[in-house]
């Protein structure tokens, strides 16, 4: 039994909300392991977020170095493995973001650790529940290695609150870096003023039935009216109508907003896997027999061309009357 090393992503001077979900798991795991939560912040600008991180745990370790300007699994994994060993960790955890999913199994390999990916629940010190088969079942796994690596599903863990008090911040050296010949080339990222798909309260998603990217504009109007994030089915992202990282589903983003609109989406199991944890689901589809209506709380059998503009004007009316 030992401590919990929580790898936390940050943006500027603040932890990301995805990291707060990781910390709520980390606290539960620390109780189960009789240890403490240690936050690790790694990267070129890591120290900027240390003040914010210190509000959430008794100990924060910063590994900051210009050589870490771009995230690479090859450089991060050995640092995380060393921090785990040096700090008596029996659990190493990250959120199942693209970074967490990329680096954590590599860390597990370096530590000879058993790993549970994308977990939804902690059930005792070394027992974890995780969705399998596109969320059609939950599997409970028990891991018997001395150190365990975990990634947590953001939508299944409430963001942690501040702990009260300020933790100590220390630094650790980056150590020797061996990239095994890998290098960062460039990133093509879209900046959006909308909330992150991962923690938006409302998501508006469109599917193949939207027919082209131009038509998504009307969904974006609906999204902006509701302060929502945009989502899409695989058919829409593959067809290049919208960016790939809008994809909701088993192999895309897993979301659980208060309100989810599925517009012109049929409801394939792989899509449902990513959104059926939503509190209220609205489906708009012209075909009443589509499986999406089986998970929808409210279904409207109508063409989106008619339904969505009307929806926008009706919501505006309701908002104006308040």
């Amino acid at each position: 039994m030992g401590n919990v090393l929580a790898i936390c992503e940050y943006s500027g001077a603040a932890l990301r909300s995805s990291a707060l979900s990781n910390l709520s798991f980390a606290r539960a795991a620390a109780t189960a392991h009789g240890g403490e939560v240690i936050i690790a912040l790694i990267g070129a600008g890591a120290n900027a977020a240390s003040g914010h991180a210190a509000k959430y745990a008794g100990k924060v370790i910063v590994v900051e170095d210009g050589a870490l300007e771009h995230y690479l699994a090859e450089s991060y994994a050995p640092i995380i493995a060393r921090l785990a060993k040096d700090n008596g960790a029996s659990i190493v955890t990250a959120t199942a973001t693209s970074l967490g999913k990329d680096v954590m199994p590599r860390v597990a390999a370096l530590l000879d650790a058993g790993m549970a990916s994308d977990i939804s629940k902690l059930e005792g010190s070394n027992k974890f529940v995780r969705p399998i088969l596109a969320g059609n079942a939950y599997s409970t796994v028990e891991i018997s290695t001395p150190i365990i690596c975990v990634t947590v599903r953001q939508s299944e863990f409430e963001p942690a609150g501040e702990a009260g008090g300020a933790g100590t911040v220390s630094t650790a050296p980056v150590g020797e870096i061996n990239l095994f010949g890998a290098s960062f080339v460039r990133a093509e990222t879209q900046k959006s003023d909308r909330p992150d798909l991962g923690d938006a309260k409302v998501v508006v998603a469109g599917g193949r039935g939207m027919k082209n990217g131009e038509n998504f504009k009307v969904l974006e109007q609906l999204a902006d009216l509701l302060g929502a994030a945009m989502g899409a089915s695989r058919a829409a992202t593959d067809a290049g109508m919208v960016p790939a990282d809008w994809q909701v589903g088993q192999t895309g983003k897993i979301v659980a907003p208060n309100l989810y609109f599925a517009v012109a989406i049929s409801g394939a199991i792989q899509h449902l896997a990513g959104m059926k944890g939503s509190k209220t689901i609205v489906a708009i589809n012209k075909n009443k027999d589509e499986p999406i209506f089986q998970v929808a709380d409210y279904g409207v059998v109508m063409e989106w061309e008619k339904a969505v503009p009307e929806l926008i004007s009706e919501i505006k009316k309701v908002k104006a009357s308040r």
């Binding site: 590599r106 994308d118 939950y138 796994v141 891991i143 890998a182 593959d238 709380d297």
Partner: protein
């Protein structure tokens, strides 16, 4: 160029999930090649051919699976698609965990010495998304996960990775581990310097085996090995129970948009 592709057979995801004796009931299940692995085989073939003239330019594609006797069928499917040779490590699925899969694949990779290992980003039964990264860590190889594009360059590969917020391009030398995402099978995703840049692959996924391919696959080498020869211990990760998620309460079809908005505002209090 020699490319090794680990593939897993998975239960056909369109089947209804059933539980028996605290485990997934797979009696009578039908099986498929994990879709992401099928895409990895497709990617390997695209790297080694002129797509426009539909001709192989050399190289070798070797597929590997760990699974029961029956899994030979899915290996044959990869041979029928165009892989040249297959290795079957026979084991009961419940005797292995991801650590064992990694250990066996590592031994095979060290013996085969491929220039590239291409694999799925995740097996759609366990949805773990971890074997590729673990393998890279164990081998001390570079990794490029979630590949939506791959380009062969003089000294390795440039991979377009699907990450939160967009696409990140990463260069890895050979040998490397590359795990593929769905969009790797889009028309222009694989660039090998041979297929003309103007050529786009058609269709939604991987190629279907042709009749000729199926006949040829019967004669291609399929090497069967015993798991016992790899020194794999008892699993450290054990499944101790399985449950079905609670069903969602039945919803309702509403007649028109004003009714929907009223219900969202008053009943669900969602807007």
């Amino acid at each position: 160029m020699k490319i090794l592709v680990p593939v897993k057979r998975v239960p056909d995801p369109t089947q209804k999930t059933k539980i028996k004796d605290n485990a997934i009931d797979l009696t009578g299940a039908s099986w498929i090649v994990n879709t992401f692995d099928e895409y990895a085989v497709e990617t390997a073939l695209r790297l080694l051919e002129n797509g426009e003239s539909n001709t192989r330019t050399g190289g070798e594609v070797v597929t590997v699976t760990l699974g029961p006797d029956d899994a030979a069928k899915e290996l044959r499917t990869t041979l029928a698609m165009g892989a040249d040779r297959a290795i079957h490590v026979v084991t009961d699925d419940k005797d292995i965990d991801s650590l064992a899969v990694v250990k066996v694949l590592q031994a095979i990779i060290e013996a085969e010495k491929p220039d590239l290992v291409l694999m799925g980003k995740q097996a759609v039964d366990g949805d773990a998304n971890q074997v590729g990264q673990m393998l890279a860590g164990k081998l001390g190889w570079p990794q490029a996960t979630f590949a939506a594009t791959i380009e062969k360059v003089a000294d390795g590969f440039v991979v377009g990775r699907e990450v939160d917020g967009g696409v990140e391009y990463k260069k890895v030398p050979s040998p490397a581990i590359v795990t593929v995402d769905l969009r790797i099978v889009a028309g222009h995703s694989v660039k090998n310097g041979v297929t003309p840049a103007t050529f786009a692959y058609q269709g939604e996924g991987a190629r279907l085996p042709s009749l000729k391919g199926i006949m040829a696959a019967k004669k291609k080498p399929l090497d069967s090995k015993k798991i016992a020869d790899f020194g794999v211990g008892a699993p450290a990760i054990r499944e101790v129970g399985v449950t079905l998620p609670p069903a969602r309460a039945a919803g309702q079809i509403v007649a028109d948009i004003p009714t929907l908005v009223a219900k969202l505002a008053n009943d669900a209090k969602a807007i």
